[in-house]
Symmetry: C2
Subunit: 224 residues, 2 copies
């Protein structure tokens, strides 16, 4: 590398590395994401990255915290249900933008944005009058649903209403087993015509859960 090139190159920084890493992962996916590839993208030799991040694991930790930082915190001014609804939708949106992060949101060393987020969500529920136990329940169902939905969305590849049915059909056809599975046939044939939409589907389940929570908010009880 010539002096020239080095001279007019913005110097690396931890922030720049993380930001580029997120961009590369967004575009290429997690399997195709490598230290070497990232270095190339930054016009730098692979080992240069290690002056700014300890290793790939720590880099991933930082990337995940960037995703957390993009999630809207529950508003203090709205009622709890609206606040939870907004943050759920915001979380799904962030995971859609950064689908490589889906399996990693809770599995890595938590960063500051992660902690702020969890603290705010729990705070929203407690301030709304949920008992501690109830707040834990409420948090658990919601997050399980949000992360689970994001995971399915990514896995099944239902990206557009059209592709939903296509995907179902393709999957089944590949092993030519539709005949013995009438209910899969039904999905493959009806889903494309049904105007299936991921955002609508997500909201449907979310509202079901929030309704359930609203009913139980003041009882200490388990669901009937």
């Amino acid at each position: 590398m010539t002096k020239q090139k080095i001279a007019n190159r913005k110097p690396l920084s931890r922030a720049r590395v993380l930001q580029a890493a997120v961009a590369v992962a967004d575009e290429a996916g997690l399997e195709a994401f490598s230290m070497r590839g990232l270095a190339q993208e930054l016009g730098v030799v692979p080992m240069a990255l290690y002056k700014h991040v300890a290793n790939k694991e720590e880099l991933l930790d930082g990337m995940v915290d960037i995703v957390f930082s993009e999630i809207e915190l529950p508003s203090g001014t709205l009622d709890w249900r609206s606040a939870m609804r907004r943050r759920a939708i915001s979380t799904r949106a962030a995971l859609q933008r950064h689908s490589w992060a889906i399996g990693m949101m809770e599995s890595r060393r938590p960063g500051p944005a992660n902690l702020r987020n969890h603290n705010a969500v729990m705070g929203c529920l407690r301030k709304a009058g949920f008992s501690f136990e109830m707040a834990i329940h409420a948090y658990s169902v919601q997050d399980a649903y949000i992360y689970g939905f994001a995971l399915q969305e990514k896995d099944l590849g239902f990206e557009t209403p059209d592709s939903a049915g296509e995907a179902a059909q393709r999957r089944a056809e590949t092993i030519g087993a539709l005949e013995n599975h009438p209910y899969l046939v039904e999905i493959a044939t009806k889903l494309p015509k049904s105007g299936y939409d991921n955002a609508v589907e997500f909201a449907w389940g979310l509202d079901l859960i929030l309704d359930g929570l609203a009913q139980l908010r003041h009882t200490g009880a388990a669901p009937a």
Copy 2:
């Protein structure tokens, strides 16, 4: 390898390879799972595996289908709610046994057990009187919840009631940020004493969802 050893060694087969692969992944986790390690476990040279599976991807496909095969199908004799409840609990149990599979259940080429499972679940809902659209909604919420819960369970490492609070505390302490996050402090202090239990937590959210579905079963409506 001597003739002796070769002679008294049971020959490989696709089934034996898959079975061993699941066992190795159960024990070592997915990151530590390699073709070379699996070969060693089977007392065979790495390339020998390729006579029975096309490549690692196809091997993983097969492993996932084994996990599906361990999931109890919804019973035809129970009412839909009980049947769904049992299969949900059975799914979580299978994912607990094989936690390496959690992110892969719906992302790979579906095998026969996968198709049988999906067909049976959809069938159970349709036979119970859910309209097609409603059955899709019902399926979607349930599976999102199940997979999401399994993911959290694995990620957060809340394995025993005791370790739940510990885990929360450890996480937060590692970056010494508990002071600014009162609600995380509350979790870290109260959760260990609360008798938190994953199985109970799972059932709580599951029942919330099933109750919601029961209420909406015959209306075509969205949640209130």
